[in-house]
Symmetry: C2
């Protein structure tokens, strides 16, 4: 711990406040995760990563920076990690999932802002997140109103580059996204002093595609009945994908998948075969937001898939690897990223198709539409999803909640009533 | 009234529900408007227009449609009216300002959506607004999340074309807005069967510029001390600008201004010269949303200017009239519209500059930052405005409210405390 204290000091972390934060996680993680039975051995790596979340990986970032490397923070699955990797920088997803930071976020943002935004804002302004503190540049985007406007506050505390994400998906919009990728490329080259060449970008595209393939493999295994891994564990893996070293992460996920394949072959599961299977769709769940998964899985059902940014949206669709020119690679990147169906786009019919497809593929008994409070795009889109799922005969419930524990009992009651209704 | 009943039937209006709505307005208008003392004679025209809001103008729309003309509904000051006029259609601003429609809007939209959006949605789905019912096409835009996503619900009830408004103001964004104007042009030509020629567009640009000039003249006169017209009356004129015939409206505003000029010359005012002068900045106030103005002016202060979409944003900046080609005209339109500073853009420093400039020009004693509940862009931007005004020594207060009367007393208490603080 002494070593980490030096590390944190070097990052200008508010040590006193940071201690308060660090004291919360171990007990919480033990309650939610370590209490699970029959967990795969392959989860040990991910347990370690999360239990030393403010130590191990931040230390790697520090070493990278000491060697002259740069760290770039992002907040959205539309920002192409490939460019960051190709520039020799390390990319870190910074979305906040902790209630700890919310009150400080509310000092500069309206209370009726989504908790994810208030949380990352609080993390930055209190200087209690080693990932934020490691970043040489933040990359924002014009997705939702909350984030779009939060950058204007955040820029008082950190360097930030904002990408203009189109709000539609016509060909003209994909072309516009190519332009934004070009602008980001120049920004990253300037930051790192490294040129992004077609070769480097090709390697980066392959690396990130491999990560996607590993996550896809993990998710495919969740289609088994009984399911070989809990939704909570799968969620943790997805969350760690945003900040771990991509190569090591991919290898560890594949190790886990090897083990799960054996489980599937032998019919071994973590929940009975008859347990109700739940698809969660909606807003992202940043670490340590395990609230809804914990409620569902403490109620005897199992989460088999997440149609969220910390789920299928993160890894579905691969970047075409064939091109050897930056022009072709940028187009391939833009096309891949614009296939992701977030409610910040209009229209967004593709997401409804995704939900129906995933509900069938994963044999979900019901869908929980998860909405972070005050997230307007997903809140409005619920009405359209509800209508479409009703037509398909797929039960759905809306759970709108924040990061606090205030409404946990209420959410639990609603989830349990929904599960009973599934029969 | 019998005539109007036939008119409304022809528009597929829900007569019973519409009667309930129509019964509310006269008493409300009398309380808020007709109770004012020493109103300009020139307001008589606007009183007439509003007192027959569902009759006179809708009848004109009906005649226009009977002659083969088209009516196009809009929701935002970024949509160029000039194109609609040049296509021989009539443009109507459809933003909802009545609490009457909110509960019906909430049937398809989340409760925590801004009342303006819930209101226009309720107006359409209940078929109780003759303006909505007259429209052959609605034109939406990707401004805020609430509206961006509301179109996907609204398209189940009406034909809608959505313009992709960029979220930034770089040159690439102005070019993108030119493209959107071109797409709208084709859409309108198809709808009306009329070609938009440079000559027609030139006339339309002049016509709408004239309207802007008249409103600018009205606002300039509000700089006088004592102020020759109440904020409530000026607001009403601005609100009517969105749906009245532009030529007649301009002429009536100029008549009013002639009268106000006389008042200014003779030092005649509607409030004492020492009355506190308030600049309102923030979200639009669609008819009949007179809540905040009524509270301010019932408390002895006077609203001298609105930095809102139903205020200066509507008429500041003129379209360059010189160009004789569509290409040049589209560029001129895009440049003019992209000068408007709405919080849906990032960054939006121009708005802060506008507020400071207007506060000085209108000799405002204080600024009320008006935010419709759940409008995230303006809510987040408050923090930046507050910091900037504090630096300039200009007092500011945030009033966040909806269309209901539930919080009127609370708002009144806060406004009065603010006015007292101004000394």
């Amino acid at each position: 711990m002494t070593d980490y204290k030096k590390l944190w000091e070097s990052m200008d972390i508010d040590l006193e406040k940071h201690d308060q934060l660090c004291n919360l996680l171990p007990g919480f993680f033990a309650d939610v995760y370590l209490s699970q039975e029959n967990r795969p051995e392959g989860m040990n790596y991910f347990n370690l990563v999360v239990s030393s979340i403010h130590g191990l990986r931040p230390e790697e970032l520090k070493r990278h920076k000491d060697d002259g490397g740069k760290v770039v923070g992002t907040f959205c699955v539309y920002v192409p990690d490939e460019l960051i990797v190709a520039a020799g920088a390390i990319g870190i997803g910074l979305c906040g999932g902790s209630q700890f930071w919310v009150p400080d976020g509310e000092k500069v943002l309206p209370k009726n802002t989504c908790p994810l935004i208030k949380s990352f804002m609080g993390a930055k302004i209190t200087r209690t997140c080693p990932y934020f503190q490691s970043c040489d540049l933040l990359v924002g985007e014009t997705t939702c109103d909350g984030k779009k406007k939060a950058w204007e506050i955040l820029e008082n505390y950190a360097d930030i580059h904002v990408m203009h994400l189109p709000q539609m998906k016509r060909d003209v919009d994909i072309k516009a996204w190519v332009q934004e990728i070009e602008i980001l490329k120049e920004k990253l080259e300037k930051l790192t002093g490294n040129e992004i060449t077609p070769d480097k970008l090709k390697d980066a595209i392959r690396l990130i595609n491999e990560k996607r393939r590993a996550l896809k493999r993990l998710y495919e295994l969740r289609k088994a009945r009984p399911v070989p891994i809990s939704g909570k564990d799968a969620l943790l893996v997805s969350q760690i994908a945003f900040y771990d070293d991509p190569e090591r992460f991919t290898s560890k996920v594949n190790d886990l998948c090897d083990e799960l394949e054996e489980r599937v072959k032998s019919g071994e599961g973590v929940f009975p075969a008859h347990a109700k299977r739940i698809l969660i769709t909606g807003t992202p769940m940043a670490i340590p937001n395990w609230k809804l998964h914990h409620i569902v899985e403490s109620s005897g059902a199992v989460v088999v898939c997440e149609e969220t940014c910390t789920g299928t949206r993160y890894f579905e669709n691969f970047v075409e690897e064939a091109s050897n020119t930056l022009e072709g690679q940028f187009r391939a990147l833009a096309e891949r990223y614009m296939k992701t169906n977030c409610a910040c786009f209009t229209p967004n019919r593709g997401r409804i198709d995704d939900i129906i497809r995933l509900a069938r593929e994963y044999e979900a008994d019901g869908v929980i539409y998860y909405n972070l409070q005050f997230c307007q795009p997903y809140a409005v889109e619920y009405e359209l999803v509800r209508r479409a799922l009703q037509k398909e005969g797929i039960p759905v419930i809306l759970i709108e909640t924040d990061y606090s524990e205030n409404d946990s009992e209420q959410v639990k009651t609603r989830v349990q009533a929904f599960l009973e209704m599934l029969g």
